[in-house]
């Protein structure tokens, strides 16, 4: 699962939703632990497998605009805790 949200708090919530289950208990994934490997589109793991020119066109500007340090920190924590692989 690849996320693209810009707000660290939402990234964390979505990552939780597709791994441990919806933390807000408002959607269909409440209590459903999918344990999916979840990454943010700006993370190095995704960037490495993305065509450089496509990344430059589609993502590069958004990456500068995002607080990637915070985003990566929260998604890595969720991944380590909840992702099956």
């Amino acid at each position: 699962m690849i996320l693209g949200a810009a707000e660290p708090v939402y990234v964390e919530m979505m990552a939780e939703t597709v791994t441990a289950g919806d933390p807000t208990y408002t959607g269909p994934l409440a209590g459903v632990s999918l344990g999916l490997p979840v990454y943010h589109v700006t993370e190095p793991e995704v960037r490495e497998i993305t065509d450089a020119s496509v990344y430059q066109d589609q993502i590069a500007l958004s990456e500068i605009a995002m607080e990637t340090d915070k985003i990566w920190e929260s998604i890595r924590a969720v991944r380590a805790k909840n992702s099956a692989t």
Binding site: A6, Q58, I59, A60, S62, I64, A65, M66
Partner: protein
């Protein structure tokens, strides 16, 4: 466009920003209507418990910014949450407009009704007439329309019952043609609320600039209401209806539709109509969006916050020929998102920011202030929609980084220098940049601001006709 700067460029003669605090009407917003239909008996009680009083809405710092008693930037110094902070010196009137109560708005709804659709208790209309008289915007003849007897089809099962904030019954709105799904009572209420608030904004504007209503020649409506019947749903033109209500007897008008970026489209068109000499005085008017009241109320209830989307907002702008103020609507620096622009952030902002600025040889950092989608973040954040203006500023800053104008570690500071906190109610097209024009205009005139760039985007994809979004932008500056 290759127009050279000079006398031919039109100017902005005035901007008005008005609010109507309508907690009783909140339940007729689209989201509350749908949620209340689920028959959760506790919801209407919880909603009522989270409604604000008129005094609270007036004291709310972003509302004081909207009518001009505070600068947008001053919100950075207001402790969050803003709704807890009561502005001690708050007033119902400001240099750009005023906040009217729901009591007064019942009267405006009645005044806006030419077909006897709105039937409201006489005692409430008397109160409304008194309050509206105090605004000093309406003539005795106009106020007479508030208290004239209604001919609404009382007792019709197709009518909608109006309630005040405390739940008391206020009156009814009738449907239009029978069996016309374009003229159900709730749709007509939305349209009348748009008309009434837009007319209020026009009255306020003309009062501020000291212009007689009959000097206005043309209006461009930029609201999102679909006025029409079953054969021409959305046919329009609400602008002419507003013109009539505001006494602009010498004007006609038309509506510009482009979701939330219609206001900037309309501003550019108004400028072109003036620059071409077709008309001298053109008003751009955006009436309020009743459908968006309570749009994010579930997030607010979950956080035990007041329902902040309880306020209708409207804006009117007068565009005219150069008047010696030096303020210029730069029709030679208009940005537009074209069909081929694409949907990536970089492509959108290149079309809307760097391309028009390049036409004038300006760098991103040469613009003093960027007005983007100025949604109040305190309303959007608890509902998962983020801080909209901040996201916009970070992307513009990112563009400046990619062009080598600023360093990457300066992205954070860009918002403080070239931006502002969001302060506008989430009324769709109303937060779309133009409310800042009211703040920019006096500063452009006194020289404390060199220029301001207005950027609006519209979610066309919501209408299911295309997957595209839209965007328009324009620079307003002061002649050197």
């Amino acid at each position: 466009m290759t127009t050279e700067p000079g006398g031919a460029l039109p100017t902005i003669r005035g901007v008005s920003c008005v609010l109507a605090h309508t907690p009783g009407l909140l339940r007729y917003g689209s989201k509350p209507t749908r949620e209340l239909a689920k028959e959760d008996a506790t919801l209407s009680v919880r909603m009522r418990q989270h409604l604000r009083t008129f005094a609270d809405a007036v004291a709310y710092p972003p509302n004081q910014v909207f009518i001009g008693n505070r600068t947008p930037e001053s919100l950075w110094d207001v402790p969050e949450p803003w709704w807890r902070y009561r502005e001690a010196s708050a007033k119902t009137r400001g240099p750009f407009g005023q906040i009217v109560s729901e009591d007064a708005f019942w009267g405006l709804l009645r005044m806006s009704d030419d077909f006897g659709l709105v039937d409201i208790e006489r005692s409430r209309l008397d109160t409304a007439a008194t309050q509206l008289r105090a605004t000093e915007l309406w003539s005795d003849a106009e106020l007479e329309r508030v208290v004239r007897p209604a001919s609404a089809t009382s007792g019709s099962e197709a009518q909608l019952t109006l309630h005040a904030a405390d739940g008391a019954q206020v009156g009814h709105v009738a449907r239009g043609y029978p069996d016309d799904s374009s003229q159900t009572a709730d749709i007509l209420l939305e349209n009348l609320a748009c008309k009434a608030s837009g007319a209020l904004a026009i009255k306020q504007l003309l009062c501020q600039v000291g212009m007689a209503p009959n000097e206005v020649e043309y209006l461009l409506g930029c609201g999102e209401e679909a006025v029409g019947d079953r054969y021409q749903r959305g046919g329009g033109s609400i602008s002419k209806a507003m013109a009539e209500m505001a006494g602009c007897s010498n004007a006609t008008g038309s509506d510009v539709k482009a979701f939330c970026c219609a206001p900037v489209h309309a501003l550019v068109m108004a400028g072109a109509l003036v620059q071409s000499g077709i008309y001298k005085n053109v008003v751009v008017v955006g009436g309020a969006s009743l459908a968006k009241l309570g749009m994010k109320m579930l997030g607010h209830l979950a956080k035990d916050m007041p329902l902040l989307e309880d306020t209708l907002a409207a804006v009117a702008i007068l565009v005219g020929p150069a008047d010696g103020s030096g303020v210029r609507l730069r029709l030679d620096a208009v940005g537009r998102h074209t069909v081929m622009s694409g949907g990536a952030a970089g492509a959108i902002y290149e079309a809307l920011v760097t391309k028009p600025l390049d036409q004038l040889g300006l760098r991103i950092t040469d613009v003093d202030k960027y007005a983007v989608e100025l949604h109040n973040p305190e309303i959007t954040f608890p509902a998962g929609a983020g801080n909209v203006p901040r996201t916009n500023y970070r992307i513009i800053a990112g563009l400046a980084v990619m062009r080598g104008e600023i360093k990457r570690d300066e992205v954070e500071a860009f918002e403080r220098v070239h931006g502002m906190p969001g302060f506008v109610p989430t009324q769709g097209h109303i937060p779309a940049a133009l409310p800042y024009l009211a703040h920019a205009l006096p500063r452009l005139r006194d020289g404390s601001l060199r220029n301001a760039f207005f950027i609006a985007k519209g979610s066309l994809f919501l209408g299911k006709m295309t997957n595209m979004s839209d965007g328009m932008s324009v620079l307003v500056d002061r002649a050197a």
